[in-house]
């Protein structure tokens, strides 16, 4: 599975955004995790935003099975659940 990651710019994050990706790499060792760019072919896209303003420019970034926008580290379990169901 190819998972694309798009971060916001990180001006005032409320949690460690890169930790989400570290955990994903650990919990989904078979997945290919790449930086998401608009138009790229992905199975799933994860938009990792540091706060609820969620200002990442994610236009054109999505996966075959959709995408999920994270604005809190607590949402990681839900993300993992979704990915495991694909």
């Amino acid at each position: 599975m190819k998972i694309g990651i798009k971060y916001c710019g990180g001006c005032n994050p409320r949690y460690d955004r890169t930790d989400i990706v570290r955990r994903l790499r650990g919990d989904m060792p078979g997945a290919e995790i790449v930086s998401a760019v608009p138009g790229a072919e992905l199975d799933y896209a994860v938009i990792v935003c540091g706060c609820t303003s969620a200002c990442a420019d994610a236009d054109g970034i999505t996966g075959k099975h959709g995408r999920m926008l994270l604005t809190s580290g607590d949402a990681y379990e839900e993300l993992l659940e979704r990915l495991k169901q694909l």
């Binding site: 971060y7 916001c8 710019g9 990180g10 001006c11 890169t18 200002c55 990442a56």
Partner: protein, 482 residues
């Protein structure tokens, strides 16, 4: 050319044979000088972060033609660009706890973009085309550009042309078929030393008699006749002592220079204004507006570090649970976020210029900067209050490392259990650095005078404040009929 890495940026600056003086001596390799290097590292962060996926959304812009550029060379296309500029500046302030210097070029870019467009419309000149060519060169080569505005000004009561010494404002001394020759100086040039190019702009509104002073252009830093005399910073020579601890922030810093233009030649295609005096004021006002917006980002990021440092000092002192300490940290946060709110507000309320780029709301940008002339001082005062007097009386690292004295410093400067004396000293020195060391140049006095002194904002606030409408509101509510 792709975006430069931080290392490529440093090597590109190393190759520029600029003329730099400090303490009466010529500095042969500014890039390797221990006093100057931290300032280069701060600019380097604008390149390093642009390479990192977790920051590139703020640090870079992908243009409609597909080119990916550093946001510092961007022309704002909408209010979202203006907002992201402020967020990027906050991020860089957080990452460096210093002035990262590259904003001034970005603000000059955007002010000149719209002003040259309108000057050409009025006069049929080709300044906008000149600027577009220069802008493209900077974008494609990922260059750092200094924006030089402040002239020495001599007798402040006199116009540029009326000064006893005509060089107190930079001016054209010769017009040739292939360009102009300029003479003068620009003071307080933050980041000039770490730039590839400099954009020069006038510093005040002008009348027809000041024609030779209404000049704007760009030249590379190794242009003959251009040289810099580095400004002193409080505690600057601590960097020569080899102590990482005592300097507070050993990796990052800012730098300022008195920059002399001693009969510098500017070719025609690098000229953006040349005698059209009525557009000098427009350029000054727009640049100042953008730069006053900038302070609602950069100083907030530095403030984030200072608030964090004060909170850590409180932890190490065992005072974190005291209600007055908690309240002081709240007050610091309140002040800092108020600055940020102003930076975001003037961006969100921005509008399109005739040229198509976006400019901030000038009233809100000036309110932003007016607050910046005050709040960092109060944030520093509260940080000093929380840190305690030891931040300015602690012995040196040399004493701390001394076989005889070290054990006494270790013993008597210890705070809470579980925290080393060294770590306590480190956080205190960081606060000292920001409050009254080298970084205080950027965080305090630059907050006062950078992008214009407080009175300059008050003049703009008076102009933009819409007092007539407010008076009408009052009369209507009071049922006054005149």
């Amino acid at each position: 050319m792709a975006l430069m890495t931080g290392e490529e940026y440093i090597e590109s600056i190393r190759k520029i044979k600029m003329e730099v003086y400090m303490f009466g001596e010529k500095i042969e390799s500014p890039v390797d000088d221990p006093i100057l290097r931290p300032s280069l590292n701060s600019v380097r962060m604008t390149y390093d972060l642009a390479q990192m996926p977790e920051y590139e959304d703020l640090m870079t812009v992908t243009l409609e033609d597909g080119r990916k550029i550093n946001r510092f060379t961007n022309i704002h296309r909408n209010t979202d660009d203006l907002i992201k500029k402020v967020k990027m500046q906050r991020l860089l302030g957080q990452q460096t706890a210093a002035c990262f210097q590259r904003c001034v070029g970005m603000d000059a870019f955007n002010a000149i973009y719209s002003t040259t467009f309108e000057t050409d419309k009025a006069y049929g000149t080709n300044y906008h085309e000149n600027f577009l060519k220069f802008m493209r060169y900077c974008q494609d080569n990922d260059l750092t550009v200094d924006g030089a505005m402040t002239d020495p000004k001599g007798d402040r009561s006199l116009a540029p042309h009326a000064q006893p010494d005509p060089d107190m404002y930079l001016h054209v001394v010769e017009r040739r078929p292939d360009g102009i020759v300029v003479r003068g100086a620009k003071a307080h040039q933050t980041g000039m030393l770490n730039s590839h190019e400099v954009i020069v702009m006038p510093t005040v509104s002008m009348k027809p008699e000041d024609k030779d002073y209404a000049v704007s252009f760009a030249v590379p830093l190794d242009t003959p006749g251009l040289f810099m005399i580095i400004g002193r910073q409080s505690c600057d020579t601590r960097k020569l002592e080899g102590s990482e601890l005592d300097v507070g922030n050993s990796e990052f810093g800012g730098v300022e220079a008195l920059t002399i233009f001693d009969d510098v030649f500017v070719p025609n295609d690098r000229i953006f204004l040349n005698g059209e005096t009525e557009f000098a004021g427009m350029l000054v006002e727009r640049f100042a507006g953008y730069h006053r917006q900038s302070y609602g980002g950069c100083k907030v990021g530095v403030g984030d570090v200072l608030i964090g440092a004060a909170a850590v000092a409180a932890d190490y002192n065992g005072a974190a649970r005291a209600s007055h300490i908690k309240d002081k940290l709240i007050e610091m946060t309140h002040l800092n976020e108020t600055l940020y709110a102003c930076g975001i507000a003037c961006s969100a309320e921005g509008h399109k210029t005739e040229s198509g780029n976006y400019i901030i709301d000038l009233l809100l940008a000036n309110v932003c900067k007016q607050n910046v002339t005050r709040f960092p001082y109060e944030i520093v005062r509260l940080a000093e209050d929380i840190a305690g007097g030891i931040m300015v009386t602690a012995p040196s690292e040399k004493d701390f490392r001394d076989p005889k004295l070290g054990k006494y410093v270790e013993k008597y400067l210890k705070g809470v259990e579980g925290v080393s004396t060294e770590n306590r000293l480190r956080i205190l020195r960081l606060i000292e650095n920001l409050a009254l060391g080298t970084a205080a140049v950027g965080y305090r006095t630059e907050s006062m005078h950078g992008a214009g002194s407080p009175q300059a904002q008050r003049i703009m606030i008076a102009r933009q404040g819409n007092l007539a409408m407010k008076k009408e509101l009052a009369k209507k509510i009071a049922h006054i009929k005149e």
